[in-house]
């Protein structure tokens, strides 16, 4: 990673230059020991790698110029950092009430700062949503934070003048568990548990991202067999999670028979994971230096076969649903995200690929063994619910085929390298099922976690949600929500 130190005054220009040449903001990390130091990490558009800009605010101050007016994809990053580190971004249009809700925490706590008086800042006061619409009869319809059957907790503020919803604003972070803060001071091994359990449906991908960062700090190579198996498990997780999203889409259109069928197929995938890896959600599988447990090659081949079989059935179901007008009518032309917005607001993963942004780090910045495999990255251009469904189904096909190819010749040998502590800082990245997951990790001499910046794909994609939810009918809301396939737990972490 190329690192450049810049003065706070020239930060905006430097970032503007990167943005104009196609570099996308991947994350903003903060190292805050004595004085805060901000790291702006950009990803090259054509596999150039990562570029880091390091900025220190003026001594004694906690203010830096905001990037948001010139690069909107920085919006949520800055709002998050303002809440967590009490760093002020000068020129940002709207800070406050983001991670820490104003009705529970006093402003300016900055819980990520060392020694911040966090529990003392708890308050209990009323909170009213901001209303933008000023037309007569306009009102805000709140949905959440506890709503529907087994929905994740989040609040959606639907602004409406009656029949149609003009805009929907998500208020997230009800489930803020402070993974980044809790990781501080823990051993590298134990911090892995936090990252893995931040989002149970993409646990392996995030654990891999973390392990990759640790492995490049301590300077070890992962054995050939583990490299190979990691790809297989990551693709298994992708298939399962895509199946879950497709099921949720069918469920939201109230086609119970189709949804039940997909639910059953998803359970078969879960059982396959459980049978071969010992855990249905692949917890406790990834380890620093490789994998925590070895698996039987024969079992792996039969699982690959099961995945191919289930994958085929999912595809057939989706193809048949696509010929059912009551289904198609409800997913086509709803929740449209156009290419310009997807690019500007930094969308990633299948969510972005359905809007014509063909970015996949497996191809762009190959990690693990992905440089050696042929990979097709399906895209679509319409950016509506149906395009997202198609991209998910195509990716599912690509991944099941890849699992089959990988499982047919697994190299033999160990699955774990030994490692010894080393101080350092490194970036880990993977293509999680929801999109690019990036982690910046700092370890000390005893391999204790000094700082962890965990940017999951959902955090970057929720930022686009406002574009997906413009001018729609009330009954389309659950459909739009499900086609986006966004995880609240992953965002809130």
């Amino acid at each position: 990673m190329n690192t450049t130190r810049v003065e706070a005054s020239s930060l905006v220009d430097a970032c503007k230059h990167l943005g104009e040449t196609g570099w996308r903001l991947a994350t903003i990390a903060v190292a805050d020991s004595e004085a805060p130091e901000l790291r702006y990490i950009f990803q090259g558009p054509r596999g150039e790698g990562w570029e880091q800009l390091v900025v220190r605010p003026q001594p004694g101050s906690r203010t830096v110029p905001s990037l948001t007016p010139s690069n909107v994809s920085a919006d949520w990053f800055e709002r998050e950092i303002e809440d967590l580190f009490a760093i002020d971004f000068v020129g940002h249009p709207r800070l406050g009430d983001f991670v820490l809700h104003d009705n529970r925490w006093a402003e300016g706590v900055g819980p990520m700062r060392p020694g911040a008086p966090i529990r003392e800042a708890l308050v209990e006061r009323a909170w009213q949503p901001r209303r933008v619409l000023r037309e007569e009869g306009a009102f805000v319809m709140p949905v959440g934070p506890v709503y529907a059957g087994e929905a994740e907790s989040a609040l959606f503020l639907l602004e409406t003048v009656g029949e149609d919803v003009v805009r929907a604003v998500p208020r997230l972070f009800y489930k803020y568990r402070g993974v980044e803060k809790l990781a501080q001071g823990r051993s590298a091994q134990d911090a892995l548990l936090l990252v893995e359990r931040a989002n149970g449906t993409s646990a392996f991908a995030h654990a891999w991202t973390y392990c990759m960062a640790v492995e490049s700090i301590v300077g070890i190579n992962v054995p050939e067999r583990a490299r190979h198996l990691r790809m297989i498990f990551a693709e298994m997780e992708r298939v399962r999670r895509h199946c879950a999203v497709i099921r949720a889409i069918v469920d939201s259109t109230a086609l119970w028979v189709g949804a039940s069928r997909l639910l059953e197929l998803e359970e078969r995938l879960l059982r396959a994971c459980g049978a071969v890896a010992g855990h249905r959600y692949l917890f406790g599988l990834a380890a620093i230096g490789g994998l925590q447990r070895d698996v039987d090659d024969e079992a792996l081949r039969s699982i690959a076969h099961e995945y191919a079989e289930v994958g085929k059935r999912i595809r057939v179901t989706v193809e048949e649903l696509a010929h059912t007008s009551s289904f198609l009518d409800r997913v086509q032309r709803v929740g449209v995200l156009d290419t310009r917005h997807a690019n500007e607001f930094g969308a990633v993963g299948p969510f972005a690929r359905a809007s014509g942004v063909a970015s996949d780090v497996r191809q762009l910045q190959p990690y693990g063994g992905y440089a050696d495999v042929e990979l097709e990255v399906p895209t679509a251009n319409e950016g509506d619910g149906y395009a997202r469904l198609r991209v998910l189904t195509d990716e599912l096909r690509v991944s099941t085929a890849l699992i089959g190819r990988l499982a047919s010749h697994v190299p033999s040998g160990d699955v774990r390298s030994d490692w010894s502590p080393h101080r350092g800082e490194a970036l880990g990245w993977t293509e999680a099922p929801g999109g690019t997951s990036v982690q910046l990790l700092m370890l000390d001499d005893d391999a204790r976690c000094v700082n962890l910046r965990f940017t999951p794909p959902s955090f970057r994609n929720w930022q686009n949600f406002r574009w997906v939810t413009e001018d729609f009918a009330f009954q389309d809301f659950p459909i739009i929500l499900s086609t986006c396939g966004l995880s609240v737990a992953e965002n809130d972490r």
Binding site: E150, Y176, L193, L263, R280, F283, G284, S487
Partner: protein
């Protein structure tokens, strides 16, 4: 409409549980069991356990169920001298008295409504709860239903360690429920805080906020373990 016909005429594939045990591989990750006469290697597992779920007591290694987060470090295939793991679905335990004391009983045996509240879950427990409606498990056949409103709910099923910002919505949901009501905590986070709590932003499980009746530990507990707990609350658990 082929998908519809295939779904409707696909035949019954639902598990026979609780009438007969379910033995399909992959339906449960299993759970570690207390080792009565632990060898030295098994005793050293207490140092490997990241959440102190394993504790030495005499020459035994005891398992504090609520704390286990399925890191798998003491599992067969991972540890050199693993603990024994059990694969039955009866993971639930009562917080006071016996499991039978927590049962609602009576008419609830045939119809019991559950409100699920996500108080900081990672998505794995919620996914397992979702699979209770799976044709392979189908909890409706047992008279258990998920309801969107707490006003019609008999059981409050809570997942997650209860984050500070979910504390009040959770309490409101509980207050809105009619008597008699029961609280069921699902998963390691809800049981003890898991890897997240107690912390600056999470409670150490649901019991810190609400009176809990039944706890199902595990990270996450599989669908059958949740069904077993719900049947216990309804008063019709398999013996």
């Amino acid at each position: 409409m082929n998908w519809f016909l295939r779904g409707v005429f696909g035949g019954i594939r639902t598990t026979r549980y609780p009438k007969k045990p379910e033995t399909t591989p992959g339906t449960t990750p299993g759970f570690p069991v207390r080792a009565e006469h632990a060898d030295a290697q098994q005793r050293s597992l207490t140092l490997v356990c990241p959440t102190s779920a394993l504790v030495e007591s005499g020459d035994a290694v005891d398992v504090r169920d609520d704390r286990c987060v399925h890191c798998m470090r003491c599992a067969p295939g991972v540890a050199p001298s693993p603990l024994t793991w059990r694969y039955d679905p009866q993971w639930a335990h009562a917080t006071r008295g016996t499991i039978e004391d927590a049962a609602l009983g009576g008419t609830f045996r045939r119809s019991m409504h559950v409100r699920v509240v996500d108080a900081g879950d990672c998505g794995a427990c919620l996914s397992e709860i979702l699979h209770l409606n799976d044709p392979l498990y189908n909890m409706h056949r047992l008279g258990i239903f998920i309801t969107p409103t707490p006003r019609q709910a008999d059981v409050l099923l809570v997942v997650g360690p209860v984050t500070e910002q979910m504390r009040l919505p959770l309490l409101e949901a509980y207050e809105a429920m009619p008597e008699p009501k029961r609280v069921l905590a699902i998963g390691a986070c809800a049981a003890s805080g898991g890897v997240f709590g107690p912390s600056f932003t999470s409670a150490g499980g649901v019991a810190d906020v609400l009176p809990v009746d039944l706890v199902v530990p595990g990270c996450p507990p599989p669908p059958l373990a949740i069904i077993d707990a719900l049947l216990a609350l309804a008063g019709s658990r398999a013996r």
